[in-house]
Chain length 704, copies 2
């Protein structure tokens, strides 16, 4: 699987909002006026539980806070409780004892009815009930999975107050909407270290995601040690692969957090890295090199030779012994068929077996692979392409093509998960992912029985334009918006509420040790060659990376071929995929216009931002001149200054109760549309709001 | 060893500056005027090498940069070269291949004459010669230790330029001034995780420190697994201890970076944690509990019983097998003797053995322990107290008492290392540590032969008021100032140069993964309960923690006993020990006054800061009201506003060419001295500079 384009936006169901949820989020968006004391903060849970009932009072969380286990117990449950105490320590700065207390005296009592399955199953019950009162908290669940989720909910409830740390009194009854809530990480295009994978697991647990899908092989690298076929990693990875012992540790780490790991070994295409060590697997004579470019390439396994299946049988047997999960992903996407067409023996085989085209040849391959996978007691997962007449109903389709493809599979009785619309590397706002629903669109036309076959979805992070140091900022916090879509009631569609809670979630992640923000600062300092980067950060906050499609197009236009060797050390790589500052500014402009230009507090915030941008270009000059990595950024900084000037002029017109001249407006809008175009793969995310302001200033003028 | 006070400042030798070094640092301190393009940046090496000769040109460092090993080779050297490539990747964002190149074609060629000792020795040659020209770089050293240091130097030379990454052409001949350059970390008062210790080792390697001294036991915790005496860690550590396998890994990790690990097990005092599991070791009947308070306590080992020595013989044998280093630290400090006085059998023993007092009793103990230590092929290290008539000359004295104590030891023929003056937990500016020299003061009166007995020094980080999340900010970057004192020529005394290079070093550390800055942000966000902490950061940058002495005194005044359970989650724990912003502001004020109020660029910087402080208090109100942890900070914020107002008024007088009235000045100075007093364990570090400005405004007025 690679860089798919054509991600479709979905019409969303405008269902009713749960009354409770609505009550929690009915407060108005604030204009960020730091002078006014803040209202008691609303509950910032993410993902939002199925039902939440606030009750009276709150539970203080002092350093004597303790946890006790009543009912069923097992080591995994104890570790979860101890981890909870460690997390709470981090969140409060208290030195909490990790020793579990007697359940009758504990502040928080945990009660699981029974244990979980030795290997976490897709259908496992993940529900829990959490009751917080001023006297204490009780968390109950059928099994440890629900307990883990409930502990995460409790952690999110604890906040600093004027009187100490506290959790509001509340009654939560919660269960996920979908059983398969995944994050897929491509570790082939750029290698991702175990340390970073672990941090992602931590974040997944916080977001109640439960499947980590690892894309372990592709043209650009084979990333897991095979003892049966050691040349896979020895020649196919540049030395960058996981040892089996490391992978086993990660599996245990994830399992302890209620997360399954599903391995993917892409076949028969996307497989050049296999052939460096084992050219006989391929459909054309070798030798092969690890592919350095991005794209879809010719090499494919030879589906006509028995030796291919013998190899894969042994290989899958080995991998099945490492990954305990029931599901085994064989990729199966994007075979261009060129090697097959060029190989006369393969043509003969097709004729002999009455396979009309390469699609049917791949179907032949997939059917045989499915038999091998199921022989090793696994259910096969693959991308849309694996859906083939005669496939057993046991397989799972992961759809990069979209809801229609997924719905079609369901109509045929196949289970599926949605990834189209959830591609994090595409660089879309969280909002866009959030509003994609696995069973809206074509999915909405399914019967209730068919809808049950839609198991959930996976956020996907392809690694062409991300590496160890930027992947966290690419995934988080936006993946949590997908997590909420997959966990919470479908009716939850309030984007403003989502963003408010996402911001709180993001801040929590830094406390868990994620580097999605701090890494950005370190990268900016590196780019600038100094840590005196205040001016660079003003610019960084006002921009966003251009979409993936634009970045690819620009690279092609520049004549450069984008490869895995090209450094990802530019400004575009260091910044967040979504500008929080732009969103804030934009909603301030909306508020200001809605107030008919009367809200002076909001206006002064807007003016201050515009001035900051106007003045920032000169403040940035010395940095721009100092670093070769900032040369491309210079015009963006100038453009930001132009936006600042235009916006400030618009405010001047408004303050003078004088409609801005039409000619001026036209000129400014033309300029804004010009500067809004991507430069250096950066987009000035604040441009649309400035344009709105300019347009508003030339419209009706409100008297004082 | 504990919280020692009485750290003395030393008169420093005003020696000549090396011409070369002087040339490198003769540029004037800038007033941080971001508009003017920066001059080519000076070489920012830290510690400064013994000799540095800049030559013409520079070496570009592109993604094809490669390293080759000529001459002697060994796995450790290869790992060092690969680590260098990884570090360089991090520093540039390039995907550098870790594969070593053919030496004849490599950009950087490494040549070691021979291998190092299997166990790194105190006297090992650490010198190297580094030659960088536009054609390439050559690094030569007698053994791998020098190579490692030279690689660090090269990394510090690489910087971003308008044309790409580059290292200036240069000839460096370098060797350390002292062979023992240590960092001591107390892991007993608060446990420090292995992960954090590893990061400290990374930072030590960057600073060319070569001894990590671990204070592994004290009244508050016994932190290393003993298999001989498992109750030591089982009952003496609250479960927070290092497994032997973990310690062995850390030793290997450090050794790979040219760093020795010296363990300390404090005896016969500071040993309560031992007695929880083994009360018979003590001089009074048990049972014992882990000590939670800070201070000097009564429990001490019984030096009169043979069983004590049998126990310690076995124990030291076990520990000697874990730590390969030649040196073994037995502490030996601060025995108050109360348990000895109260025990009739011990009194009898003293009489029987003609030991006149407890000091002589401890000497008896120390002599016997030294025999055990040396039986296990180790040289004993201890604090000043172990210096006892008749001790073999093989021991090493670590001095917390000061240079006089150290000099006295040297006069008697004993080797010593200085720690007095290098206590990082005392919260002093880097400058103060920097100007303390092991052989100045009393040391300067020694003969050349005697001076050679002064082996170097150790920066000490006691952990009463630091924990895993704050220790990095407490140690770094200030420890690098001590590292330079111990590595570089004594004549290097330019504090401004040191601070400039320290800032660059500090930024590098974040790139190495240290959290001394990012952790501060995370803690501030936690304290505030939001990550919208711009106003809190303005305050945080203007303050410093009060000195350790003041913090202790304040805690006592408040009637609270400071214990290991007290959370370290306040503002004082989150901020940097030294305010860079205050130093910058202060030097701007000095520049402005020196310019006779003519430098308008500097003035506008000063005014902007003063206004920022003046306005910050109201911006901070909502946060202050939201968090119980910020209540104590409210008056500090008000005081900062008052400083802003006073300073701005002073500027107004100056701009009006009007001497400020004497009454106004007196009033302001009184106010400043009032607000300069510690509140909430915070000191307004910018107060003295504001006072200077106020005083200057009432003095002679310069005409326009």
């Amino acid at each position: 699987m690679g860089v798919h384009s054509g991600i479709r936006k979905h019409a969303t169901h405008c269902g009713y909002l749960l009354i409770m949820v609505f009550a929690l989020f009915s407060f108005a968006a604030t204009g960020q006026t730091p002078q006014t004391p803040q209202a008691p903060s609303p509950i910032k849970l993410m993902p939002m539980p199925a039902t939440v009932t606030p009750t009276a009072g709150r539970l203080l969380v002092p350093q004597t806070f303790s946890v006790g286990i009543a009912g069923y117990n097992e080591p995994r449950l104890e570790r979860a409780a101890q981890r909870f105490l460690r997390d709470l320590s981090r969140q409060t700065g208290y030195f909490l004892s990790e020793r579990l207390a007697d359940a009758s005296r504990a502040t928080l009592t945990i009660h699981a009815d029974h244990g979980g399955e030795p290997v976490q199953d897709l259908g496992a019950d993940e529900s829990y009930v959490l009751e917080v009162s001023s006297a204490g908290a009780k968390l109950a669940a059928p099994n440890p999975l629900g307990i883990m989720h409930g502990l995460q909910t409790f952690l999110q409830l604890v906040e600093v107050t004027p009187e100490g740390y506290a959790a509001p009194a509340i009654h939560v009854e919660d269960t996920p909407r979908f059983p398969w809530r995944g994050l897929s990480i491509d570790v082939s295009r750029h290698f991702i270290s175990m340390e970073v994978l672990q941090r992602n697991v931590d974040a997944m647990a916080a977001a109640k995601l439960n499947v980590l899908h690892l894309h372990l092989s592709d043209d650009q690298g084979f990333r897991l040690e095979s003892k049966e076929y050691p040349k896979l990693q020895e020649l196919g990875s540049d030395g960058m692969y996981y040892r089996q012992s490391e992978m086993r540790e990660l599996i245990a780490y994830a399992s302890d957090r209620g997360i399954r790991i599903v391995p993917e070994f892409d076949m028969p295409g996307h497989s050049t890295a296999w052939f460096v060590g084992y050219p006989d697997l391929s459909s054309a004579a070798g030798p092969y090199q690890i592919e350095r470019r991005w794209g879809i390439f010719d090499p494919a396994m030879d589906p006509t030779r028995e030796s291919t299946y013998k190899f894969l049988d042994k290989f899958i047997a080995e991998m099945a012994s490492i990954f305990p999960d029931r599901y085994f992903h064989i990729g199966g996407d994007e075979v261009n068929g060129k090697q097959w067409d060029a190989n006369p023996k393969i043509s003969e085989f097709k004729q002999a077996h009455n396979l009309k085209n390469n699609q049917e040849l791949q179907q032949y391959f997939t059917v045989r692979i499915e038999k091998i996978v199921s022989k090793h007691h696994k259910s096969m997962v693959g991308w849309d392409e694996i859906l083939t007449p005669g496939m057993p109903k046991d397989i799972v389709i992961q759809s990069w093509r979209g809801q229609e493809s997924l719905a079609e599979a369901a109509r045929q009785g196949y289970r599926g998960i949605l990834s189209s619309g959830y591609y994090l590397d595409a660089i879309q706002p969280a909002e866009q992912h959030y509003l994609v629903d696995p069973v809206s669109g074509a999915g909405a036309t399914l019967t209730a029985e068919q809808q049950k076959l839609i198991l959930g979805g996976e956020a996907c992070m392809w690694e062409e334009f991300a590496s160890d140091e930027s992947i966290e900022s690419r995934i988080w916090p936006r993946a949590a918006a997908v997590a909420e879509r997959l966990w919470s009631p479908q009716q939850l569609q309030d984007v403003n509420s989502m963003y408010r809670r996402l911001a709180a979630f993001s801040a929590r992640l830094e406390q868990l040790g994620l580097t999605h923000r701090s890494s950005s600062e370190v990268m900016l300092a590196r780019i600038a060659g100094t840590d005196d980067i205040a001016a660079l950060q003003v610019l960084a906050r006002a921009v966003q990376p251009a979409s993936l499609t634009i970045r690819e197009t620009e690279a092609q236009k520049a004549g450069g071929i984008q490869t895995s060797d090209v450094p990802l050390n530019r400004m575009v790589d260091a910044i967040s995929p979504e500008s929080e500052a732009a969103r804030k500014f934009s909603s301030a402009v909306d508020l200001f216009i809605a107030s008919k230009f009367q809200d002076t507090t909001v206006e002064s915030y807007i003016r201050q931002k515009l001035q900051e941008w106007r003045d920032n270009d000169s403040a940035l000059q010395s940095l721009l001149q100092n670093s070769f990595l900032l040369k491309e950024v210079a015009p963006v900084s100038q453009n930001l200054a132009s936006l600042g000037v235009a916006g400030a002029q618009a405010l001047d017109y408004i303050d003078a109760h004088q409609a801005a001249p039409a000619a001026w407006k036209l000129q400014q809008v033309a300029m804004i549309q010009q500067v809004a175009k991507p430069t250096a793969d950066l987009v000035l995310a604040v441009a649309p709001a400035v344009q709105k302001l300019v347009e508003a200033s030339s419209a009706a003028v409100v008297a004082p």
